[in-house]
């Protein structure tokens, strides 16, 4: 359904994560606290079931993205918590980052009110500062790190080819349910929750930017991909549901949107690339 909110949230309408779809979490992970750098969790390539990102169409009609086994291409270390306001402000002070539009008075809160461009600027600055290679995680990397806290986007409904409103109404009902249980408080980093991998703060009031561009995938009746197109400039933000947000947006929420539930706040965490270990293989 075309709307103003859609423009801002991009594919946010169809990107709704709310179900109990089992996500098998088999990746090996360990927490490292060595050195002065941020606390990180290592993610090794190991296949896991994942509801793919993107807007999927089967024979021209929107459908749930398929669930497939995916494997991240190489081992990485992901920050155990989102970048905090205090950490981000160091980049602002250095003149390498723009001021966030979120609160700046509490250093321990996750930084919010940052655009994808801001997050990328921070990654570049932080890489220079540390001499390491830091970047935003991909959708699959973020999902693997989120582990059992990752929320499935699937609506799980039987589509009615003769009635597009069936899906719109199902989406709307699910968004309403999601809204009911939403926790809107921004809590200090590390305090919201922690999963089996030691990754904190998944799915609260802060959505996190990824390096994954919004893509549209067209399939035939069998699900075979006919065409795929990327919209880089619109990126996937992960949280209670996946949202597609334009790269310059810092404040995704609007008072009373037309349709679709926008993310509450935008923040991020980074991953550090590691040398690939022998035996780790495959790609998403």
């Amino acid at each position: 359904m075309p709307s103003i909110a859609t423009l801002l949230a991009g594919a946010g309408l169809s990107a709704l994560a709310f179900s109990l779809w089992p996500v098998t979490t088999t990746p090996v992970a360990m927490t490292q606290e060595s050195g002065p750098g941020p606390q990180v969790v290592r993610l090794d390539p190991a296949p896991f079931l994942h509801r793919l990102d993107g807007d999927w169409q089967r024979e021209g009609r929107p459908v749930d993205a398929p669930v497939e086994m995916v494997t991240i291409p190489a081992p990485v270390e992901i920050m155990a918590t989102p970048v905090s306001t205090g950490e981000y402000l160091l980049c602002v002070q250095a003149g390498a980052c723009a001021a966030p539009s979120g609160p700046v008075d509490l250093a321990e809160l996750p930084v919010t009110g940052v655009s994808w461009l801001d997050a990328r600027a921070y990654a570049a600055w932080f890489s220079t500062e540390t001499g390491e290679s830091w970047r935003l995680p991909s959708d699959a990397e973020w999902a693997q790190a989120a582990g059992s806290l990752f929320r499935d986007d699937g609506l799980g409904i039987e589509d009615d080819p003769t009635n597009p409103a069936t899906r719109w109404i199902a989406e709307y009902r699910q968004e309403s349910a999601l809204n009911r249980e939403r926790d809107r408080e921004i809590r200090p980093v590390g305090s919201l929750n922690v999963n089996e991998l030691g990754v904190h703060d998944i799915g609260g009031a802060v959505w996190e930017w990824t390096s994954t561009c919004l893509r549209r995938i067209e399939t035939d009746a069998s699900g075979a991909i006919l065409r795929e197109s990327d919209s880089c400039g619109i990126y996937i933000a992960e949280g209670l549901h996946r949202a597609a947000i334009i790269e310059f947006v810092r404040e995704p929420k609007s008072g009373g949107c037309s349709v679709g539930v926008p993310p509450d706040n935008l923040g991020f965490r980074l991953v550090r690339d590691l040398p690939e270990t022998p035996g780790g293989a495959g790609g998403a």
């Binding site: 009609r61 109404i169 309403s176 067209e218 008072g255 009373g256």
Partner: protein
Amino acid sequence: MTTLPVSRRTILAGAAIAGALTQVRQAAAETKEVLTPAVATELTDLPRVKVKLVDPPFVHEHEQVATGGPKIVEFEMEIIEKKIKLDDSGAEYWASTFNGTVPGPLMVVHEGDYVELTLINPASNELMHNIDFHSSTGALGGGGLTQVNPGEKTILRWKATKPGVFVYHCAPPGMVAWHVVSGMNGAIMVLPRDGLKGREGEAVKYDKVYYIGEQDFYVPRDEAGNWKTYDSPGESYEDVVAVMKTLTPTHVVFNGAVGALTGDNAMTAKVGETVAFVHSQANRDTRPHLIGGHGNYVWATGKFNNPPEVGLETWFIPGGTAGLMVYTFEQPGIYAYVNHNLIEAFELGAAGHVMVEGDWNDDLMTQVLAPSAI
């Protein structure tokens, strides 16, 4: 948060409220004097019906075409001052309400009926209140006869002689604007006895009716830009008036809060159902629009002795007016009902949703090519 270290008692004695209290004393004298002849009026032959009001967006049960002659329709409303949450960003506001809701409930009577309202101002309130019915005749719409101090009640009867949807609101002298933008307004629908009629005299009937009360709020912020909160309405008065004078609302919402008519609270309809939307704005102009639908019959200024406009895209309701739109849904889906100043709709809150179930009509709309690469 900056709050003044004063008690409710201090506030009551404070400058902001002293004016209101003085007015109460004047009003009490005035009321007794004027009410005397009214009591003598002979209406004993008319049947009386008692209506239980319901919270917006819903509307109490009523006949569209009146059976029988004029009645005395009894309503009771309690005035409740309460702190309400306007959005998810922490904005709170000391609302003054008719019956506990913003807007107050929609009342429905027929032309020629008598409206008899019992208005109660409980002792737990801080302020004096009254009610001005735009649909009534005389005494500042009844405002001059209904000023009640906390701990008082009053009964006003007036004859509904003008058919239409009309705003009612609180109007205590000197503080009218503040009370109105504190949520103290609602609407009454005076239906023609033989029901609504289109331009050719055809009957216009509805399967359901929703009442949307649009409200502009003016919430003060502190130096750091955070919403200020207060311990009582009186304490907020001066700050709120300062924001009001900017004529720039911080919120423009339907039914008292951002999102009050969305999600779980979205309005509902079915394809083929005819829905009447009563829309009031007691203070500011608005321009309702149903995204994906139309206004089949629209009384933008709300008065049924004028023929309705038909087939509209957007209609203009001047501040201080209620309007009526009637639409029969033709397609399923999620519709947005908005103030089509889209900044007010999507940035300040004036948007609601209608979830419509039914069969899709390919003739009316078909996606010939789903969005795909060029």
